[in-house]
Symmetry: C2
Subunit: 198 residues, 2 copies
């Protein structure tokens, strides 16, 4: 790639290390970045440095935030007795967008995956168990419905059962607006098993 500037090649290389960014996308982004006013490039670079420098884990729920306690955990109107366990801050964001969940969260930062060598000690499970020593009524497990997510859900529920705290799992089934013919068999069977009376 020496027909590009060495600096552009270096930028393309850096960008293509981001998840989901291939060489072509990295090229497109790099040329966009260098074609813009220098001010814009500085703002982008600055926000990367600032975000990385100032971000830390919330002492309560382990989500990424810039305060000791995240805005959700420090909100007195949230129900601290209900904890929803999610894999990533993005999953937390997805549930927050619904605007209907009033409890708090616990972010695991991953899921148990024997295939990838990720065990229970590699995710923020110990922090969750510590929180359960407090006044908690229900733990809602909202890990993904992938193999790893299901494994993690099973593991956590077994761990919590002895404490007597109620453990629930979000429902699995046909997505709203989903066309049955385009949905995989496992989901269809799940939806059948989880049917409710009308």
């Amino acid at each position: 790639m020496d027909y590009f500037s060495g600096y552009i090649s270096a930028l393309i290389e850096q960008l293509s290390q981001l998840p989901g960014i291939g060489t072509k996308t990295a090229q497109r982004l790099a040329f966009h970045i260098v074609s813009q006013p220098e001010e814009k490039a500085k703002r982008l670079a600055g926000s990367i440095l600032e975000a990385r420098k100032n971000v830390r884990y919330c002492k309560e729920c382990c989500t990424l935030t810039d305060a000791e306690i995240c805005p959700i955990c420090s909100n007195s109107r949230r129900d601290k007795q209900t904890i929803m366990v999610v894999e990533t801050p993005r999953d937390l964001a997805a549930y927050e967008k619904t605007g209907k969940y009033e409890g708090v969260y616990h972010v695991l930062h991953g899921a148990i995956s024997p295939m990838l060598g990720i065990g229970p000690d590699d995710i923020r499970l110990r922090e969750l168990m510590k929180r359960l020593a407090g006044d908690v009524k229900e733990v809602i497990i909202a890990t993904n419905s992938s193999l790893e997510g299901e494994t993690t859900a099973m593991y956590i529920s077994k761990l919590i059962k002895p404490t007597g705290i109620k453990v629930t799992r979000i429902a699995s089934g046909v997505p709203v607006g989903g066309d049955l013919e385009n949905i995989d068999e496992v989901t269809l069977l799940r939806a059948l098993e989880g049917r409710t009376q009308l």
Copy 2:
């Protein structure tokens, strides 16, 4: 989005201004960036600043480079009498990858688009015309085969014709390995018009 850190929200905002990056992708990238070692974030930010600072237009062909004259124009083995006109440095890169083109390039940095208000003066056309005063035998127009690319090709060829320099256009047709049934009608008609005897 105040359930994220203000710094992360700012980073998501910056990233989502990049072309082809929506809010969801920006979120994914932002969380990836802040979850990595600080060293990596610094390297990414540094390469953005370095690339933007050091990049300039080649004095000959107008591509983006970090020297006065780009590596292709300063390569004595390239045929300076043949100029391929492309819209962007990425198009140049695409032809360079073939490894078979021995001439030089001219990068327009855009295409004429009356719809978007981009006229002949907004792309690097004047620079191309200046180069034609030198010893040039052929100008190969390799703008995209979009409406804008075709308009630009027509415009350039009319501009060059009076100089007596040979002007050619890259062939338009069915891509190699393409399935006829999946190809649009315009391309199919082009392929028919441009048929060659076997």
